[in-house]
């Protein structure tokens, strides 16, 4: 398609030039449609994550947990439009960060995206914005059920600004990691490793939940967690196949490897725990699927479907054991951000160094198994650099917040649950089945109306 158009362009050189210089002259409507819908798909992942996490906490914290992801979606949407995108993808400053030239986006509204010349700049911006949103949302699994709400908001804004935006710049925005030839198709380092390392920093500073390892803390609603996982899987097609930035064979490859790795990892996690513990669990199956999706993220457009089976299979087993070992180490990464996104993301980044193939993607590179050991080294360097950078800056941000507004809710609030204590709500008022009446609440008359309106008397009482 594009080849044809290029040829036509050349062939018709005698036509007035401005016809081709119009603002959308080289836009491809199919590529644009794919980026538009991919952006919507990736947006849906953050609510998906909210449910994935929300189902795993105790009932008293379901809203608080969902609110973490939801408010990050809201806050980072604004940050990204104002300065985040410009820092990450704006004109490069020394390979380290983008300039603030694109602050507020005013100048780029009618441009095509420099990194994807067949789509509007704004949709590339927003597609990338959805990645910037979900990354801090992933971190919230680590400090679920005890983080202060104000601290969460401040943390997310600072973290996107000082960790995510520079890192995205390094890998995708013209920065040094991209320049040394590291491959990260859709965010293995930028999204998953970085969120897991920040999670580790947060867990160190915020400490364990009260009662951790002494009280039972079973997931209060696994059906909600499964719904979240389903939305994540669905959205991940946009995440990975959308990262092809065009609607063609590369997107198809990424979609296939994504789906295959998710399925394989769910199977391998479930089998591992079936053998190890005697039962294949539903939480294991969806956790495995997410682990597979994490692991294939950096590799999706560089490896073959067969390789994606190996990458997914490895992710399921590795993450299962990472998660199983956690209670023994007795740190409280509550919803296993490290065990899934850290381990899965690292495995995926290295696996890209093993399985990448120029036969799949001529713009990529060959990995170790295709005769090129240097890619694996580059990938490893990237991983380590990401660990170090993210950990240090995350610790600094968290410490600053801890000193000023504090990271953690009071013991009493933690005991009563974030929903009631922080948000003044309850997730569910199931109350009495038939009458629909919840015996736990009554109206504070004065709050609602000066005097109870005596207009209608309920005579129909059953």
């Amino acid at each position: 398609m594009r080849i044809i158009l290029l040829l036509i362009t050349g062939f018709m050189a005698f036509l007035p030039a401005r016809a081709f210089a119009g603002e959308t002259s080289s836009l491809d409507s199919g590529d644009t449609a794919w980026l538009l819908i991919s952006t919507a798909l990736v947006m849906l992942m953050t609510p998906g994550l909210a449910f994935f996490y929300g189902g795993m906490v105790r009932r008293k914290n379901v809203l608080g947990t969902i609110m973490h992801s939801f408010m990050i979606l809201c806050a980072v949407s604004i940050v990204w439009v104002l300065w985040g995108y410009s820092l990450a993808f704006g004109p490069d400053i020394g390979g380290i960060v983008g300039s603030l030239e694109w602050f507020g986006l005013t100048d780029i509204i009618h441009e095509n995206a420099p990194a994807a010349p067949t789509v509007p700049h704004l949709i590339f911006m927003m597609f990338q914005g959805m990645f910037a949103i979900i990354t801090p949302a992933l971190i919230t699994g680590a400090f679920a059920e005890r983080m202060k709400f104000s601290a969460l908001l401040v943390f997310s804004i600072l973290w996107v600004t000082f960790v995510y935006a520079p890192l995205a710049h390094w890998v995708w925005g013209g920065g040094w990691i991209g320049n040394i030839g590291a491959l990260d198709f859709a965010g293995g380092t930028v999204v998953h490793i970085s969120s897991a390392v920040a999670a580790a920093a947060a867990v160190m500073l915020i400490g364990r939940r009260k009662g951790y390892l002494r009280e039972p803390m079973p997931p209060h609603n696994l059906t909600m967690t499964i719904l979240g996982a389903a939305l994540l899987w669905f959205g991940w097609f946009g995440f990975n196949a959308g990262s092809a930035l065009a609607s063609g064979t590369l997107a198809a490859i990424a979609l296939v490897t994504t789906n295959t790795a998710a399925g394989t990892a769910a199977l391998s996690w479930t089998l591992a725990e079936w053998i190890h513990r005697g039962k294949p669990t539903a939480l294991g199956a969806v956790s495995g699927a997410v682990a597979g999706l994490v692991a294939i993220t950096p590799a999706a457009g560089f490896v073959s479907p067969l390789s994606s089976i190996v990458i997914g299979g490895g992710a399921g087993v590795l993450c299962y054991f990472a998660v199983s070992v956690k209670p023994k180490l007795s740190y409280d990464d509550s919803l296993d951000v490290i065990g899934i996104h850290g381990v899965g993301g690292t495995w995926g980044a290295l696996a890209t160094g093993l399985f990448a193939s120029l036969a799949i993607n001529p713009d990529g590179a060959n990995g170790l198994f295709y005769g090129n050991p240097s890619l694996l080294k580059t990938q490893a360097v990237t991983v380590i650099a990401t660990y170090a950078f993210v950990f240090i800056v995350s610790i600094i941000i968290l410490k600053l917040i801890d000193w000023t507004i504090g990271l953690r809710v009071s013991e009493e609030d933690e005991f009563n649950g974030l929903d009631q204590a922080v948000h003044g709500e309850m997730g569910y008022h199931f109350g009495l089945g038939g009458g629909g009446f919840s015996p736990t609440v009554h109206t504070k008359a004065e709050a609602i109306s000066p005097k109870p309106a005596p207009v209608e008397i309920n005579k129909a009482e059953s």
Partner: protein
């Protein structure tokens, strides 16, 4: 000491609670129960199968009071919870041996 258990219609809970409160009752324990009695249930339909649901949602209140308050309490409940329609519920009164307040270890009426 008396233990008063009463089964009432759910929407009467707040009224009864407030009336008892005014009477000086300072504590009670509430649970959700299903009642079976003269009051009819309802029918549910699921893909052509019909279920006859004979249990009706009710609220059960347990109130422990000193002997001298007991009559007043039952009277108040009987008045407040009444709608005059089938299914208003029952009040059951029985004797209680002892009460202990866990926080202080107090026994008897002082613990109520």
């Amino acid at each position: 000491m008396k233990k008063i258990e009463t089964i009432i219609k759910p929407f009467k809970l707040d009224e009864v609670k407030d009336a008892l409160n005014e009477l000086g009752v300072q504590g009670m324990t509430v649970s959700e129960v299903k009642g079976f009695g003269r009051q009819k249930g309802h029918v549910e339909l699921y893909r052509g199968a019909e279920y006859d649901v004979s249990f009706v949602p009710k609220i059960k209140l347990e109130i422990v009071v000193s002997d001298d308050l007991a009559d007043n309490v039952t009277k108040t409940i009987a008045e407040t919870a009444k709608t005059g329609k089938i299914g208003d519920g029952k009040i059951f009164v029985s004797d209680l041996g002892d009460t202990i307040r866990i926080r202080t270890g107090e026994h008897g009426e002082a613990a109520i």
